[in-house]
Amino acid sequence: MDSVYVIGRDAVPSLVRLGSGESLKMTLVVPEGESCKLELEIELDGPGASLDLAGASMSGGSEQVNIKVTVRHNVPGCRSEQLFKSVAGGQARVSFDGLVYVAHGAVRTVAHQQNHSLLLSGEALVESRPQLEIYADDVECSHGATTGYLNPEELFYMRSRGIPEDVARAMQVEAFLAPVLSRAGEGGQL
């Protein structure tokens, strides 16, 4: 299943259960101007279940975006991939809480989680709280989080070719979000 949820337009389920061999590709998009408090729990209940979850948020004013995702690997041999990207400008407040829980006995779990944020102003704030709780052996789990500003070298390079500063910035933001937004575009749902 491949589903795209645009916050403010679509209701996001709070709980999804994946049974044996089921796979879900899910993309969450928080458009500019949209504040939200999202709580999403995904239970991997059957062996071989697979989750591919991505999210993007764009906030440029005074939005408050809180995303909390819990992924539970309850049985052996499941896979979860998560990629969340946030762009925060203005006085936006964006937080991401991501818990990956690997239950006792859920061996051969593969779980990766990435959370990257781009700050466009000195007053915007992003918080990233990735957590791994692992109670099984023989698992492959990782998480990574980065927060940064637009790269001034890239901006100057683009401007030196005649691309105006505002366009150059927009292109960098677009490039940053592309790995998530291209998924939403593919389904023709954005």
């Binding site: 070719r161 292109m171 960098q172």
Partner: protein, 250 residues
């Protein structure tokens, strides 16, 4: 149209509080190729950065007139629209932005500034194809992200490709020879030579004489410790090659 393209007078500039250029003067006429040679740390890259308008470099004194206009008052993108092109010593990688989209944005911004309509997709593609052939780049090149994962030679060829697309009036080649093997050097130099016209000019910045065997300069300046300490013809290149920078007094 004036014969004088670039006039630099008493230019002092630096980064943070450190002065790197300590009074640079020279004039470039249309049709000329000027080489700027000098040891590491002489200020060669600072000069190119200041001419292209890099924001972290500050000009503290002097003036730069480009085709009779105050270059230092212009934003980097305006300088590009006016015909300045800097081939970077270290071309910047822009992951997520394809060369095609990058060039489209650059070409259309310049056309907009000149009051021209955007290029039609077919016109743009034809131009891309022509200029890619110019630097011996294959078709897939346009879909790659700008400089991302490129080899040193590919990065420099990409610079010359962009130069061919933008058809600058004044090209500044900052150490374009660094990190190039002979084949890549030849492709780059041929590209530059074929872009020479009586109306345009180039500044070739280099540490070594090697590139100047391919791109023959009309005027050679030696930059040492932020000042031009000698100006001459090709014989200066020979002197540096045989006797080193120490033989030229600053």
């Amino acid at each position: 149209m004036s014969d004088i393209l670039l006039e630099i007078k008493g230019l002092r500039a630096g980064i943070e509080s450190r002065e790197i250029l300590k009074g640079v003067d020279f004039t470039i006429r249309r049709g000329e190729v000027h080489a700027i040679m000098g040891p590491n740390g002489a200020g060669k890259s600072t000069l190119s950065a200041v001419l292209a308008g890099r924001p972290d470099y500050k000009v503290t004194a002097g003036s730069v007139e480009f085709d009779g206009r105050d270059l230092l008052a212009m934003a980097p993108e305006e300088r590009s629209w006016e015909g300045i092109f800097l081939s970077f010593q270290y071309p910047v990688e822009i992951p997520g932005v394809s060369i095609s989209n990058f060039m489209k944005a650059a070409m259309n911004a310049r056309r907009k500034a000149a009051g021209l309509p955007e290029l039609k997709p077919a016109e743009f593609l034809a131009l891309m194809k022509e200029k890619m052939a110019f630097v011996q780049m294959k078709g897939e090149f346009a879909r790659r992200d700008v400089n991302a994962g490129f080899s040193g030679g590919e990065k420099k060829r990409n610079e010359i490709f962009q130069m061919a697309m933008l058809e600058p009036v004044l090209s500044i080649l900052d150490e374009t020879d660094s990190g190039l093997d002979v084949d890549a050097l030849r492709i780059v130099a041929e590209g530059v030579n074929r872009l020479r016209t009586p109306q345009t000019a180039s500044i070739v910045i280099t540490h070594y004489q090697r590139l100047l065997e391919y791109i023959v300069p009309d005027v050679v300046h030696v930059l040492k410790d932020g000042r031009i300490v000698a100006t001459g013809g090709a014989e200066l290149v020979q002197q540096i090659e045989t006797q080193g920078y120490d033989s030229i007094d600053g």
